[in-house]
């Protein structure tokens, strides 16, 4: 009973993650410039990688046909999900800050740019 619940909840998380992934990929192609595309990329990493990895972990805990190593698989998937949760926003932030400070990407259309006025956060 409990393993059936784990498998179905994990599969639901995988489906949600796959749909979020598709939406993020469409958004990455449709949005006009880099700073707007960061928004779509965040959907693709948290919604499209963190949720499905949680789902994989739940399925691995629930599926008894995987044998005795299924707890290793589930634990490794949980660790990967935690790493993605920590590292994906940090990486996106570092990239956005570098792109703004090195003026590789022009922020447009822009009304006011306080980061520029403050000297780029120095």
């Amino acid at each position: 009973m409990i393993s059936a619940i784990l498998i179905y909840v994990g599969w639901a998380l995988l489906v949600v993650g796959a749909i979020a992934d598709l939406i993020a990929a469409i958004g990455l192609n449709r949005f006009p410039n880099f700073f707007v595309r960061l928004h779509a990329a965040t959907i693709g990493t948290i919604g499209g990688a963190f949720y499905p990895l949680l789902g994989v972990a739940l399925i691995a805990f629930g599926a008894e046909f995987l044998g005795p190593y299924r707890f290793f698989m589930g634990g490794a998937a949980l660790v990967t999900a935690f790493l993605v949760l920590l590292l994906a926003p940090a990486g996106s932030h570092a990239l956005a800050r570098a792109a703004h400070r090195s003026k590789v990407v022009k922020p447009e259309p822009v009304v006011v740019d306080h980061l520029e006025e403050d000297g780029g956060g120095e």
């Binding site: 498998i7 993020a24 990455l28 990688a49 698989m73 800050r97 570098a98």
Partner: protein, 97 residues
């Protein structure tokens, strides 16, 4: 009556998800090739590799190979390393000591 899905049912449920992921990968790669700036390419590659992580984990479930989960951890760390190195290079013009 047992609610628990059989092994072949679970495998079929997992395989049914894979086409959605593959469509998303093709779209990510289109953005990575198109650019137009280096930051866009790196952002697309970054999102692409975080999702390859998921793909490898699902394949590990389908093929019943526990070792593929270890590969997934390495993919996640590699995508972060790419982000940080490119950010460092854009800001300072060198890769750091």
């Amino acid at each position: 009556m047992s609610l628990e899905p059989s092994e072949s049912t679970v495998i079929m449920m997992l395989i049914a998800i894979l086409p959605i992921f593959i469509t998303a990968y093709v779209l990510y790669l289109i953005r990575a090739v198109k650019g137009p700036t280096i930051a866009d390419t790196v952002l697309a590659i970054d999102a692409f590799f975080f999702d390859v992580t998921v793909f490898v984990a699902v394949l590990g479930l389908i093929f019943k190979q526990p070792i593929m989960m270890v590969v997934a951890i390495v993919f996640a760390l590699w995508a972060y390393a790419l982000d940080v190195y490119v950010a460092k290079y854009l800001e300072r013009g060198e890769m750091g000591d």
